[in-house]
């Protein structure tokens, strides 16, 4: 067995890197994934209207691209919440 010495530091080997930095907590991965999606969701909700071309007129919800982006994000959160 001629293993990579850096593996023992957990830098390149996935199995060790995960345990070294983020612990062996079984459900931690799920919450990290959901956390990333929630961060994007908050960013989408809080984004100023003028940055998405809605400074003067806000379109009705069915034509509002921000609304549909939020729906997609929520569905993704639901997927990881339910199945991860």
């Amino acid at each position: 067995m001629n293993s990579c010495p850096v593996d023992s530091l957990g830098i390149l080997d996935p199995s060790r890197y995960g345990s070294l930095l983020l612990g062996q907590t079984a459900g931690l991965g799920k919450w990290v994934f959901i956390g990333a999606l929630v961060a994007v969701l908050i960013w989408l909700i809080m984004m100023p209207r003028e940055l998405i071309g809605q400074a003067k007129v806000v379109p009705p919800w069915w034509r509002n691209v921000r609304f549909w982006a939020i729906v997609v994000c929520l569905l993704q959160i639901l997927v990881y919440w339910q199945f991860a």
Binding site: P14, L22, G29, V32, V65, L75, V79, Y80
Partner: protein
Amino acid sequence: MHVARLGYLDTALVVLYLLAVLGLGLWVSRGIRSTRDYFLAGKSLPWWAVAMSLVVSDIGAKDMIGVAGDSYRYGVVMMNFDFIGCSLAVLIAAFLFMPFFWMAGIYTIPEYLGRRYNQHVRTFFAVAWTLFMVATLGTIFVSAAAMFRTLLNWPFWFSVGVTAVIVGAYTSVGGLKAVVITDAFSCAVLIVGAALICVIGLQQAGGWSAMQNAIESSGQSWTAHHFELVPPVDHPKYAWPAVFLGLCLVLGPSYWIGNQAIVQRNFGTRSENEARSAYVLCAAIKMFFPLLLVVPGLIALALYQDQLGLPFVDGDVGSPNPVWDGNTVLPLLIVQLLPTGVLGIVVGAFLAGVLSNLDSYVNSASTLVVNDLYVALLRPQATDRECLALGRWLVVLFVLFGAGCSYLVDRWFASVFDAFQTFLSFFQGSLLALLLLGMLWRRTTQWGGLAGMLFGTITAVAVQFHRQLLGWDGTTSFLWVAWWSFAAAMISGIVVSLLTTPHSEEQLRGLVCWIPLGEAKS
């Protein structure tokens, strides 16, 4: 290996599909007079067509074949490539990056990098993307050949030749408009075909629970994590920290923000809002693809493991079986499962994946070479007519290069999906770092960009090959290659930028998010 016999109905459906694509492609090719028409479709593309084209530019034959093979090996973890590896990145691209690129009026991503940093950075990424696209064309040809070998018993080179001729015909003539409109049609066919495989396969397996029981009750150690969307940290290939850092934070965003084949469609939309809408619709459609692509691999594992064999030596997930061929999983499933009529639709769907993927990549590779290498480096005085002719010839040339490259891909990689992701990981980390630093931090200098590009790429090569070079055991996942390449590019880019003279606000106008084109001089 079983070989399917296409019935008259199947053959008729396949021929009908091919004629429809060819006819549609040639019909929308009328009126192309300039490079703007050819490479950006005259900025006249409807957003829904762009969205569907985005889907099939990403999901194609290589994904149908490759993901089925990898889900057979690794399970539902492969869904992450279309869930968190896509939706998060697409939404960020839609609301942060794409409108900005669109307003800048650029043809290519390297063009932006050239304006923001310097010509060296532009040339490097243009060459890197072109080489990547040729390699990707190779993976697509291999996917097509694997399917045709099983379905029609065609030899490898015959399959590659037939595919090359069909796609070359309308892509070289019609440019981006032909590509996007035929892609939209192909997207619908692809969804129907992939859904039929899942429905019929699950029926045969006795439903989802029965399929899961069949896989889990086999008691094999390599299938222990097959139904975990977020696998544990000791997973040898897709440990969740690797999926999160490598895929979610680097490969996904880099692919959806910086891949010329992806973003070029958006440059062809009518307005900034349509570009944004196209991305959001794409994200919505893509939410169904994890099921459509991954479930076939699981069905094959539950029903045909005795014929497909073990992907690992002695069931050890760390020891891939060198003779196992992941590219045969989907073809065998199709041959075994599908009745006449349905087979024709699924073959049509597969062809849709082949053609839409191929046309997207050859069109974009041609755009890169004409815009970022030929005009930028060799002939700045080139006329529009000359560039248009060159773009068309390059499409033919790239189809031929890709066909040649398919032989190497077929010999070196157990799965086309693995091959595709490995090619991507070499420069995606540094590309994303340069885009983020360039667009979001005005202090980034051209030397910082150059340092980020060099250190990021060197790190990717070192992490990918250090084990082989030093004689150490094991392999390093491409997800870690991407992550460490990104980290190295970010750090070196920031450090060198802080040590060098910053650009003036005038130089950065329209290139950094906080200094838009229309802002008054301060």
